[in-house]
């Protein structure tokens, strides 16, 4: 039996680091379904969860895997699943249920190249827009993009914390390259790891309104069996959790769901700057593509091109204000990502009249820094 936090230096891949991050964050339930290149997350969770009194179950498909973690979450535990593109597509309907019922959970997408079965063993960042818009209806989602096995550990803990704090699914948008890359991962002392648990109700149980929000727009969440007698539905519901098929109820529910994210952007959005202070050209990147973007900045600087990097650690909600503020003083943006133009559109939208281009790739390989340099030279 190993402890919850495996303090020490490890040489492990990103998928395994993600699993260790989940265990360290207090995850107690994983509903899985095997899919390359996310399988190692499930394998590691199946080994580690029993050590901490948790449960692994392999479900019959990704729909069931995603649904099982919602059921488990309502018993009061932290839950997770992990998948890749095809499974992510299957999870989309249930993602909406998680959002509207405000069920905390963490979903890992170790992205591979699509569409369809695509390149199962090769990396991509092609699901970034699906992460935002894949389930029907309007919603805000939190998605974070780790760039290294170390971040697969660190950001998984943050994903759980955000998920619990805001009672919403949080997506870890990794990719095959980071997932299968082995690097040094330093796991700190258990005491140094900050974990957050969902807000709990207190006071009278009779007449309890499960969807009456607290001060930050988030509702305290009871667990099954605590005597609150809650009803939870995917239908549009009022503060009692009861279905009400009215425009007013829809408005009220939607505004609260959107605003609990939109009103807390400073707390949710994480970015990293590299040579941004005096930059004239901003490379925007995230996940594995950010790794080569650092090199691109170094190469550009050696050529006396004033380039800097804005690395998006949080991709959704999109850091609009940061881009808008940069647009006031820079000459151009280049977004680097392994897809044919997804986040680059968001950057373009926020850049206003400042030229914004994308360096894309259809998937299966890392974007070489030379491509970024070529784009900088060509465009500007």
């Amino acid at each position: 039996m190993k402890p919850q936090v495996l303090t020490g230096d490890h040489f492990i891949n990103g998928d395994e680091a993600c699993a260790e991050g989940a265990i360290a964050a207090g995850c107690k339930f994983f509903g899985g379904y095997p899919i390359t290149p996310a399988t190692e997350v499930a394998e590691q969770m199946s080994i580690r969860l029993p050590h901490v009194g948790g449960t692994y179950i392999q479900m019959e498909d990704e729909i069931a895997a995603m649904t099982s973690i919602l059921g488990a979450a309502w018993t009061g535990v932290k839950t997770m699943t992990a998948t890749s593109g095809p499974g992510f597509s299957l999870m989309m309907e249930t993602m909406g249920l998680a959002i509207v019922t405000e069920t905390p959970c963490v979903v890992v997408n170790v992205q591979r190249a699509g569409p369809s079965t695509g390149l199962p063993t090769q990396g991509s960042q092609g699901d970034m827009m699906q992460a935002k818009w894949g389930s029907h209806g309007d919603y805000e989602i939190i998605a974070i993009a780790p760039s290294s096995p170390q971040e697969m550990f660190d950001l998984t803990i943050i994903a759980f914390n955000l998920s619990e704090k805001y009672r919403t699914p949080v997506l870890i948008m990794s990719d095959e390259i980071v997932g299968h890359m082995s690097e040094k991962v330093v796991i700190p002392d258990a005491k140094a790891i900050k974990t957050v648990s969902r807000p709990k109700p207190s006071g009278k149980k009779a007449g309890f309104k499960p969807y009456r929000p607290g001060p930050n727009g988030v509702c305290p969440m009871p667990s099954i069996g605590e005597g609150y007698n809650v009803h939870v539905t995917g239908l549009t519901h009022d503060e009692r959790g009861y279905p009400v098929m009215s425009v007013d109820t829809q408005k009220e529910m939607m505004h609260r769901l959107l605003n609990k994210i939109r009103n807390n952007l400073d707390d949710i959005i994480m970015t990293e700057d590299y040579y941004l202070d005096d930059a004239e050209y901003v490379i925007v990147s995230y996940g594995v593509s950010a790794r080569t973007s650092y090199t691109a900045v170094d190469m550009a600087r050696s050529m006396r091109i004033k380039a800097g990097l804005l690395r998006l650690i949080t991709v959704w909600p999109f850091p609009e204000n940061i881009i808008r503020n940069l647009a006031k003083r820079v000459k151009g943006f280049v977004t680097v990502e392994i897809n044919m133009g997804q986040i680059s559109r968001e950057v373009e939208r926020c850049a206003g009249s400042v030229p914004a281009f994308g360096v894309g790739h259809p998937g299966g390989a890392i974007i070489p820094p030379e491509d970024v340099i070529n784009m900088l030279k060509e465009a500007f």
Partner: protein
């Protein structure tokens, strides 16, 4: 002012109903309410603290059950009540988890989850209301619609054959399989109670009329259906599920078909993966 039409003596099941959600949405002549009442009766008769129950429904007319029961209850997406319930059960095995939903929800769109939960012997009580159609959406053909029957999408009759649900459940590994009709409310309540008190995947099919969307198209008035449930059924406990095809001309077999003792999914998981806890628990309870 006190509502004069409200009787002073409360209904015996009132403590289990969200009275502030009544009236319910079920049509006149629909059988779902009777099945729901049998289910509440069963819960009450177990004598178990209501806080140790939870109900999970999918989508459809019977899927609204979870919205009316006054315990922690979940109205999930179409077809996914069973995996939601499985997550609950595996994360907290002390809870009695009842899945209350319909034939389309559980056995068509949710068919994959249904057979796998049965295979795992997931400790759930699954009450499946079979009204032979998709009632909520207006009476389209279902996986349970009899061959030749008319529906909103089979105007010349159903060209497909229906599932024999007890046989499907048994073949997939269910350890308790029964069939009743909504008319057999006491037998049904007894079966649900027995399912709650036993361990393992318990499947109870309940035949129930949908006069508005099924009966209307098939010349079957609400009371005719009930007469068939009374006259054209044969109670045969221990019957082979393979003989349980639904044919009212021949007589439909009702009763408890299967009741097998077998370790449940959560028991086996804990025994194999968290043996220390199992040992500690045994020590505590003697």
């Amino acid at each position: 002012m006190k509502n004069k039409s409200k009787p002073d003596v409360p209904h015996p099941l009132e403590d289990l109903v969200r009275m502030d959600r009544i009236p319910h949405i079920w049509c006149s002549g629909c059988g779902t309410g009777s099945v729901f009442a049998s289910c509440l009766t069963a819960i009450k008769q177990t004598g178990i603290d209501y806080r140790r129950f939870t109900m999970v429904s999918g989508i459809g007319c019977s899927g609204r059950g979870a919205g009316y029961i006054n315990i922690d209850s979940f109205h999930t997406t179409h077809g996914r009540a069973i995996p939601f319930a499985s997550g609950i059960k595996m994360a907290n095995p002390d809870l009695n988890v009842i899945v209350f939903s319909g034939d389309g929800d559980l056995c068509a769109i949710g068919g994959n989850h249904f057979i796998h939960a049965a295979r795992r012997n997931m400790d759930l009580t699954v009450v499946c209301i079979n009204n032979f159609t998709y009632g909520m959406t207006g009476g389209q053909v279902a996986a349970t619609t009899p061959f030749g029957a008319k529906s909103a999408t089979t105007s010349a009759g159903n060209p497909e054959s229906p599932f024999n649900l007890p046989l499907l459940a048994y073949a997939a590994g269910a350890t308790y399989v029964a069939r009743w009709t909504m008319l057999h409310s006491r037998d049904l309540a007894d079966a649900i109670k027995e399912s709650i008190l036993r361990k393992g995947f318990s499947f109870i099919e309940v035949l129930s009329p949908c006069p508005i969307n099924y009966g209307r198209r098939n010349k079957e008035k609400a009371l005719d259906a009930l007469r068939k449930y009374q006259k054209n059924t044969i109670v045969k406990n221990g019957a082979n599920p393979a003989e349980a095809d639904i044919d009212f001309d021949k007589g439909v077999i009702l009763g408890k078909f299967i009741d097998i003792d077998k370790a449940t999914c959560d028991e086996s998981y804990r025994k194999m993966y968290r043996p220390q806890e199992t040992a500690d628990k045994q020590l505590k309870t003697g």
